[in-house]
Symmetry: C2
Subunit: 405 residues, 2 copies
């Protein structure tokens, strides 16, 4: 039997728990824990009704290693799936080490007081996990996660060498709110207001952030979604792909944004509401971005009326048997269909399903190892097969369109 502990009961936690509950042959026991037990209980009640599966729940402060250790030692899971906040990756990894349990997450660690999406903190755990014979799998959502696996799978089957990768992330959905973020607003806004970097000829190139008039963007014609303005952005999977895909000359990440979203974000930045330093207010220390989060719609609530699709994938340019070729691998996910299945919009769905599949790879022994791994270091074949079977089917096509130089 395989017992898993899911930490985090937000939009992604909900999807992971439900997708795991759909596979009782692998996940024989599921425990969901978060700071707010009521959120775990609500997920458990829905799972009972949908699949007649009993999920246990617990309360835990994921900032506290002692609390996490007590929880993990009580549950005794084979695997901890971390879908809490990225600030909490290290405390949860520490607790897994102390308890001797494997670990999987979907987003890399970020300190609370500065916006840095970097793997260095988590890669520093390499020796600790290896020495204890434990496996930690990092960034197993969609991007990072599926996009990395698209890369390793393309490299394995379609290329002798890959020269360039363009990752393109399009959300062509409409949630009906004037402004809302599709996942935790605090993380989302930090991510999109940071300095933009891409990799070219052996080094990181900085370009202006997306709110700057001189930011880099172009219109890309997405399958099923049509042309959408796509902005150069830094995204964490590039850091590990540069390390793990040999011979890469260039890797870029593009994300679509609507003009209204950018206008809202620009205004919020102008007035100081995206600040992550504490402001003195009537004797309290208030972090403006956190207070904004309290006002914005809960991303988990957006699914109800969400229409449209997400289209996320990678375009490769490389050589196979001496011939240059360009291929595009992508998934299209429909917000309303995701909601009908697991009561979550597609941004939560596309993150949660790969976490479940990654957990399945670990529990079934398909992925094994001692140490800290990014997903492109592990064999992609069965994972790619599971994407097709478990809700995120993908296409591979020859690409004959235009990309900026």
């Amino acid at each position: 039997m395989s017992r898993i502990l899911i930490i985090g009961a937000g939009g992604v936690g909900n999807v992971v728990a439900k997708k795991c509950a759909q596979h009782p042959e692998v996940f024989t026991e599921i425990v969901v824990a978060s700071r707010t037990r009521a959120k775990c209980d609500a997920i458990a009640a829905e799972i009972k009704q949908l699949y007649n599966v009993t999920v246990k729940t617990a309360e835990v402060d994921a900032d506290s290693v002692p609390q996490l250790v007590a929880l993990i030692n009580g549950v005794k899971p084979q695997l901890v799936i971390n879908v809490a906040l990225p600030y909490q990756d290290l405390t949860i990894m520490d607790a897994c080490l102390e308890c001797g349990v494997n670990y999987l997450d979907t987003a890399n660690y970020e300190p609370q007081d500065s916006a840095h999406f970097e793997y260095s903190w988590q890669w520093a755990y390499q020796d600790k996990f290896r020495d204890k014979g434990l496996m930690a799998v990092l960034g197993c959502g969609f991007d990072p996660g599926v996009t990395n696996i698209f890369c390793s799978w393309a490299r394995k089957h379609h290329y002798d060498s890959i020269q360039t990768i363009d990752i393109l992330d399009c959300n062509a959905g409409d949630h009906g709110h004037p402004f809302a973020t599709n996942f935790n607003p605090e993380i989302n806004i930090r991510e999109v207001t940071q300095t933009v970097r891409h990799w070219r000829d052996g080094r990181w190139i900085e370009t202006p952030p997306i709110l700057d008039d001189n930011c880099v963007h172009f219109s890309f014609d997405y399958p099923e979604a049509g042309p959408r303005e796509s902005y150069l952005l830094y995204h964490e999977e590039m850091e590990s792909l540069v390390r793990h895909i040999d011979g890469l000359k260039r890797i870029r990440f593009w994300m679509t944004f609507g003009q209204a979203y950018l206008t809202h974000l620009k205004v919020l930045e102008n007035v100081g509401m995206t600040r992550i330093d504490a402001v003195d207010y009537e004797g309290h220390k208030i972090i403006p971005l956190r207070f904004l989060k309290a006002l914005l719609p809960d991303p988990g609530s957006l699914g109800t009326n969400y229409t449209g699709k997400t289209v996320i994938g990678c375009i490769f340019d490389g050589v196979k048997d001496g011939r240059q070729s360009r291929k595009y691998i992508y998934n299209v996910c429909d917000h309303a269909e995701a909601f009908r299945e697991v009561q979550a919009q597609a941004v939560s769905y596309t993150t949660g399903v790969p976490a479940m599949i990654g957990a399945m790879m670990m529990l079934t022994g398909e992925w094994q190892g001692a140490g800290v791994y990014n997903v492109e270091q592990l064999d992609p074949d069965r994972f790619m097969d599971c994407l097709n079977r478990y809700g995120l089917p993908w296409q591979i096509v020859d690409f004959d369109g235009q990309l900026p130089d």
Copy 2:
């Protein structure tokens, strides 16, 4: 000798204190009090340096009638000039009644928990002031204030009857910030997000607020500032002018806004930052609009680099000796000139100078009475003369332009 107590040490308090200090023949003793004594001390230090006049300072919580009574009984002023927050009008009026002191303010009372700019609360003090033989002068800034006096002066000298009044308030200045308000942001944003009303044929007509796509606006060609998009807005002086200018068929108020200002305001409204109800946040009750105020530039700090002008005035259509005529009375005030004189931008300057002149009218006996008065009920001639002499010169011209019906 005439001792005055100024309550409030923001942008307007600074102007009132300095303009009073320029006239020691009338204002023989000046005391400035506010919640933050350091702000009063800073004004006093500047006045000492500029005019070699000694201003006393005090700390007071203007929400507390007992504190106000203790202060007023200690100072024993002939007049209290209230340039604190509009929420505090009633506590200060109560304290003046208890201490037997005359009262003047620049903005009508508004309850903290709802945006209603109405005179009803203050008009209800009519009998109390009259019975004690005290005078309360309401709304003696620019608008309300000078605009009301333009009306009573026009009625006295240029019209047998006035049929329509259009008040036009243009700020064609540039403070160099992406978003800032020219006076207390809390009051400013409440004012401009409220329902729009104007008076026509004996009743109030509601139209969409300025952030609505269907709001009413037109381009008016302002003297010295040129064409500016001007938006129909509710403004408090209309309430008293409808009552005090006989036979009025229509009165409207227009204010200029730039597209960037409106975009910022719309976004802040969309995300809930203009809310005036308390939000639970980490165990504290936070009013979003107040927190926003803490992040925005202090209006008193805008003057440093402010360029451009304000143009505020009234256009009348009426009959004199059987002949229909249209006249436009207006003032032009330059931000940088105001700053050179009293280290304040023009929006503070145009509010503070009329308060000083009104106080001068009361202390010299030009304005006398027992009860609560709006300024158009008092003789306008010497006040109009003082505007020309003390920094706010006005023009009267025949108007031959176009206004919306």
